[in-house]
């Protein structure tokens, strides 16, 4: 096979959200762009992350509703619905991936299947079966290669007993007991999912609360709800050893919680813990780059230490969200095009797609008090929201944290129906400097879940309408 050397205005490594969005933005500005993908087009988000998990969670919520209705209650039906859910998930993935393929071809972006590896800081070799089959050259390279789970002792994913999120998506049978290691957002989503299908779930979190990155109130409410649904939640808990020899279709975990050791048996152990930047095979040292704490470090312009090389998305760490990758990719391209733009991480929404959903943006109450001293808090429970009462989605609340002097919105925290949609009202207010007083002047349609935000804004000044004064 003849090796050719092709030159592009921009080479992007990885076709996930960080990579493909940057490719489209750059191509729209007239740059010739090549995207190198070693796995599935669309990366984690489209194939193993956002889209498939949301498809599954949606099916799980439907099943949960059926289940709660009391009309159906047998294990067989649960398994058969679970299989249907996987099918629907696959359809969703196929649809978004083929959509992406069309978008990339619309913008005449060259997509190269193969494993990228640096030859030097401006040349990339594309390997197929460990042989370099193609060389690409550019003055601008964007690394958007994503992240992979960090292997941590004593739990090594071996695919049979100990699995990761990738394996979940290809499960064909439901375990009867499941340990989920990691009480962050992804752990909770899986806990919800399996709980809906009747799996006995134990959630293990090392910190003193689940969802440690969200507002404490959401953590507490969420834990209460999970416990009510018979999910066992262990906080400040650590796996000290694992015995993976099969006994009665189960294996053993030794859990240390608050100084107490406990031996627990599970049919499956799902690890959704820490991740690291995926630089496998990239040979970044040839571009004079190295990892810092498992990730490629970049400045606020998404520039790496090597001139001409940028990085965006999961590979730079700081949270794993497709929308964070979109945003960083956009900033990287703007800088590539000569505009000096910078990332502002405060404006990135944090979303949990469990049911109810949770979402937050900006500072938590604790962070706000630490930074501003006194702050205003406006709160409203969905229990008092008309739409919630009508639909039975009464769990949760809205909390708006604002600064006292100008009413600037510092943080919005929502736990409840459609929280991941509602959060954008907060995002818009924060990004465009609309304060609580201005939110009070908006007209909200009735009945909507959004009214809870309106009432929380009113409550900031003790003016909430549909709420008993505490």
């Amino acid at each position: 096979m003849g090796r050719k050397l092709e030159n592009f205005d921009l080479i992007i490594i990885g076709s996930g959200p960080g990579g493909y969005l940057s490719a489209i933005l750059a191509a729209q500005k007239g740059l010739s762009v090549a995207v190198i993908e070693k796995g599935d087009l669309g990366g984690t988000c489209l194939n193993r992350g956002c889209i498939p998990t949301k498809a599954l969670l949606h099916e799980a919520s439907l099943w949960d509703a059926f289940d709660k209705s009391g009309l159906i209650r047998n294990e067989e039906e649960a398994t058969s619905y679970f299989k249907k859910a996987l099918e629907k998930k696959n359809n969703a993935v196929n649809q978004v991936v083929s959509g992406l393929r069309n978008l990339l071809s619309r913008d005449r972006i060259t997509v190269i299947q193969g494993e990228a590896s640096f030859i030097n800081s401006r040349t990339i070799g594309v390997k197929s079966d460990a042989k370099v089959v193609e060389k690409l050259e550019s003055d601008r390279i964007l690394i958007a290669s994503g992240a992979v789970p960090k292997e941590a002792e004593p739990l090594k994913r071996e695919g049979k007993w100990v699995i990761g999120s990738d394996e979940v998506l290809n499960m064909t049978e439901l375990p009867s007991t499941l340990a989920i290691i990691g009480g962050g957002r992804r752990g909770l989503e899986f806990a919800n999912f399996f709980n809906a299908f009747g799996v006995n779930v134990t959630l293990v979190e090392r910190e003193n609360r689940i969802l440690p990155k969200m507002d404490r109130e959401i953590s507490i409410r969420c834990k209460g709800l999970l416990t009510k649904r018979n999910v066992k939640v262990l906080t400040e808990a650590e796996i000290i050893s694992a015995d993976l020899t099969e006994k009665d279709k189960s294996v053993c975990l030794m859990v240390l919680q608050k100084g107490k050791k406990e031996r627990l048996e599970f049919q499956k152990i799902l690890v959704v813990g820490e991740r690291r930047g995926n630089i496998d095979g990239l040979e970044i040292e040839k571009a004079s780059l190295s990892l810092k704490d498992g990730f490629i470090s970049v400045d606020l312009h998404m520039k790496t230490a090597t001139p001409g090389i940028y990085a965006a998305g999961d590979v730079v760490g700081k949270g794993f969200y497709a929308h964070k990758a979109f945003y960083e990719g956009k900033i990287a391209v703007e800088n590539i095009l000569g505009k000096e733009s910078q990332v502002d991480y405060r404006m990135i929404p944090n979303c949990l797609y469990a049911y109810p959903e949770a979402a937050s943006i900006g500072l938590t109450e604790e962070e706000a008090i630490k930074e501003y001293g006194e702050v205003n808090i406006g709160k409203f429970p969905f229990m008092a929201c008309g739409r919630s009462i009508a639909t039975g989605n009464q769990e949760g609340m809205v909390k708006i944290i604002s600064e006292k002097r100008y009413g600037e919105v510092l943080g919005v925290h929502i736990f409840g129906p459609s929280a991941t949609e509602l959060i954008h009202l907060g995002a818009m207010a924060m990004r465009h400097e609309i304060g609580v007083e201005e939110m009070k002047e908006m007209i909200f349609a009735h009945p909507t879940y959004s009214e809870a935000l309106f009432e929380a804004a009113l409550d900031t000044y003790g003016e909430a309408i549909h709420m008993m004064k505490g």
């Binding site: 100008y406 009413g407 600037e408 465009h432 400097e433 609309i434 304060g435 007083e437 201005e438």
Partner: protein
């Protein structure tokens, strides 16, 4: 939009003088809805030189005030509507010039609510800021940057002194005009000052000699100021450079000799002009000055009365001042300050004698006048005062 009718009267910004292009509305003396009679004072207008009570051009109800206090309005632009009860008027678009001249920013400023609040609190004028948000929207960062500039300015200024207490008088009306014009003059014109003493006995004798006759003929009491105007006019005619002004990069030697005379008023001072002073007789000068003084005190001077001066005379003799350096009244190039006439011992014809002496001080614009030229003029003036019969030549 303004409303205009065939029947209603549109009050326009009057053109009070040939050079007037715009006027500031100082004060409306009537409110919307008030009845006003033709000839009754309607509003006060400030021009470059004076403030002026403008009388209503018609009788009726002041139905609409189109421009409010503090607005600068070009001449002939409508400022109010006077109409009878029940009379209607049609809407016509407001002239573009007014929209441009209006001090209130009519254009919408795109600004985030937060930025607006901070600007209001910090006293930052939003119209002076350039926004860094999408399409120039002003955001918090822009206001904070402007605040920093203000703080930097405050840092370099002297340490704050405690705010003094006492009554506050607004700098407005004639006070504002004086403040503006004197600052401009003193900042822009390189002043220099010459002084000499003149023996006033001859001119005093002349005044005594003429007083009775003039009073009998014209019922006017001849003053020393009248004589000073006459003498100065003659000296100016002989020294045309003192009667000149700067026009761009040229000097205009003005043919007319129009002498302004500073008159103290209760709330300031005004300088009405004796036009063609060199061509007027003493009686004419005295008559003119009396009339101007009278009208100045009544606030009834026209723009013509105060315009066109080529030289200014400021006599502080009656205020007990010996000697002072006046500030030039632009666009003129010189001003004469005359002190009181006081009897003192001087060497007169080889002997120490008691003579009535007065200080004459000339302030001149050094761009036009040099020391020697000014000295020539001042000495000429002294010579005329000491030998007023020379005026007959």
């Amino acid at each position: 939009m303004i409303r205009r009718s065939h029947m209603a009267t549109t009050v326009i910004m009057p053109k009070l003088g040939l050079t007037m292009t715009e006027g500031t509305i100082e004060r409306w003396l009537k409110k919307e809805g008030d009845r006003v009679e033709k000839g009754e004072p309607l509003l006060e207008i400030i021009t470059e030189k004076i403030n002026f009570q403008y009388e209503s051009p018609a009788s009726g109800i002041l139905r609409k005030i189109l421009h409010h206090e503090g607005e600068v309005v070009p001449v002939t632009v409508p400022i109010a509507i006077i109409a009878e009860e029940g009379e209607v008027w049609v809407e016509v678009p407001m002239p573009a010039a007014v929209q441009r001249e209006s001090k209130e920013p009519s254009e919408r400023i795109f600004v985030s609510p937060l930025a607006r609040k901070i600007a209001r609190e910090k006293g930052i004028d939003l119209s002076s800021l350039k926004g860094s948000g999408p399409r120039g929207r002003i955001v918090r960062a822009d206001v904070l940057k402007a605040t920093e500039r203000v703080i930097v300015q405050e840092v370099v200024s002297p340490p704050p002194t405690p705010m003094p207490t006492g009554k506050l008088i607004p700098l407005k009306g004639i006070r504002k005009i004086i403040a503006k014009r004197m600052t401009e003059s003193f900042q822009n014109i390189p002043h220099f000052y010459l002084s000499l003493e003149a023996d006033m006995s001859a001119v005093q004798d002349l005044r005594e000699g003429l007083r009775e006759e003039i009073e009998k003929r014209s019922n006017i009491r001849l003053t020393m100021t009248d004589l000073l105007v006459k003498v100065t006019a003659s000296a100016l005619k002989a020294n045309p450079i003192i009667n000149s002004r700067i026009e761009g990069d040229q000097i205009r030697l003005i043919e007319e000799i129009n002498i302004g005379v500073a008159i103290a008023l209760e709330d300031g001072l005004i300088v009405p002009v004796v036009h063609h002073a060199d061509k007027k007789s003493l009686t004419e000068i005295a008559t003119t000055l009396r009339d101007l003084t009278q009208r100045a005190r009544e606030g009834k001077l026209s723009l013509e009365d105060v315009g066109g001066g080529t030289f200014t005379l400021s006599n502080m003799g009656m205020l007990g001042i010996d000697k002072f350096n006046p500030i030039i009244n632009p666009p003129e190039c010189s001003i004469l300050g005359v002190g009181r006439t006081v009897e003192k011992p001087v060497v007169y014809r080889g002997e120490v004698k008691i003579r009535p002496m007065a200080w004459l001080s000339l302030s001149s614009d050094h761009r036009i006048v040099d020391g020697a030229t000014a000295a020539l003029f001042l000495n000429h003036l002294k010579k005329l005062l000491e030998n007023p019969t020379l005026l007959l030549i």
